[in-house]
Amino acid sequence: MSYQWRFDVAVDNLPVLLEGLGHTLLLTALAMAIGLVVGLALALMRLSGWRALALPAYLLVETFRTTPLLVQIIWVYSVLPLTVGLTLSPFFSGLVALGLNVAAFMSEIYRAGITSVSATQTHAALALGMTRSQVLRRIVLPQALLRMVPPMAATWVSLFKDTSVLAVIGVAEMMTQARIIASDTYRPLEIYTLVAVVYFVITYPQSLGVDRLFARNRVKE
């Protein structure tokens, strides 16, 4: 007896899935915002040349870059409450883990972008009488930003997909919704296929856009 596919069941539940999609997008946007801000701070700490700042930033970045995201999420959700006594909702635990994970990768993008602007630019700006922070704000970051946009956009795209890992702690994003529907309807094959299609439909155009950004950047060099 062959399997009877019932995609109508999956499609009937599409609204519930899309409700989860709203959370997925919100988590992506918030984690990205954390990543952009904290990542810049971490990059500046590491570039400060001041060991007391550089070392903690280095340790944080490397910890988040060399452990699996799944482990980070579970750790923040279940170990942090026991060790620090800080209990966060699944949503906030997930957001903190995801945000710091993105920040670690962002800081490396910022760092590469900033160091790619040549020292002669900094010299020219300092010679005009600018302070270090004016040089960074007016001269270095605007030039670095152009080079940072493509890898940051790529990070956004993988972040969008990575939010699905938050299902493991039950954050009500799209993957969690899919799991709930799948067990309610006993139609996991159809539901998980549909959720894959939704991720694909949203990710693919963005991924093409990222490719275009990289190509455009290359021509400029």
């Binding site: 010299h123 005009l128 600018m130």
Partner: protein, 250 residues
């Protein structure tokens, strides 16, 4: 008549990069309005000397005075010091994300806090002074090397510096572009700007310098009026250096 006190005075300046001792006790005085041309073989410390003056490089020892005020040591307001010493570099280093006009406006806007209108007014006048008024909206990549260096001169002048430092500003240029930059510098000298010019263009030294300073291996080995240095240098090392330049030019 007693001579005017030197506007810029350097006393026993030393600079070390680790083991490398690139400046070994430089003493130098520059009077207001003087043009001092610094010559010498590469590696003699000429560039390091200029960069120590506005402290882009930190001197290892020695003192520097500008207009009677010591500018070495801790506690000196470095941005303020650098505002008073305009600098143009060997490398073409206009800000690539800004137009020529915006490059010249950047210092007055960001450092001096001038309004856009005031800064633009001054910047346009300066671009006119370096004969680039028609290139105000051009990006650096759209300009020749010579034009970029003239904008860089205007950018430095926008801060109304008391001294201008030129660090081999024509070395990176194609030969046919050197003249336009040197003539802007000559005009500046004629207008009475105090200038310290590191260059390999001996014709500039001959025509514009009030004094020529010969450096070798981190020390000043002789200095004097251009006619004496170029025609009757006392030191064998200076004569040999000038001779080598002449041959290289053939």
């Amino acid at each position: 008549m007693a001579p005017a006190p030197p506007f810029l005075r350097v006393e026993q300046l030393h600079k070390r990069f680790g083991e490398l001792h690139v400046l070994r006790g430089i003493d130098l005085e520059v009077a207001r309005g003087d043009v001092v041309v610094v010559i010498g073989p590469s590696g003699s410390g000429k560039s390091s000397l200029l960069k120590c003056l506005n402290r882009l490089e930190e001197p290892s020892a020695g003192r520097i005075f500008l207009d009677g005020e010591e500018v070495t040591g801790a506690g000196v307001d470095l941005p303020r010091l650098r505002r008073r010493m305009g600098m143009v570099f060997q490398h073409l280093n206009l800000f690539p994300h800004m137009s020529a006009l915006e490059n010249v406006m950047e210092g007055p806007r960001t450092v001096l806090g001038l309004s856009r209108r005031e800064a633009e007014h001054g910047a346009r006048a300066l671009l006119d002074r370096v004969s680039l008024a028609d290139k105000a909206d051009a990006r650096p990549v759209e300009l020749s090397g010579g034009q970029q260096q003239r904008v860089a001169i205007a950018r430095a002048l926008a801060m109304e510096p008391a001294v201008m430092l030129f660090d081999e500003v024509t070395s990176a240029l194609d030969p046919e572009l050197v003249g336009e930059v040197l003539s802007v510098m000559k005009q500046l000298a004629d207008d009475g700007m105090t200038m310290l010019v590191v260059t390999h263009e001996m014709s500039f030294g001959r025509r514009v310098a009030d004094r020529v300073v010969m450096m070798d291996q981190g020390v000043i080995i002789e200095q004097g009026p251009p006619e004496r240095i170029f025609m009757r240098a006392e030191h064998e090392r200076t004569r040999r250096f000038l001779q080598q330049l002449a041959w290289d030019g053939d």
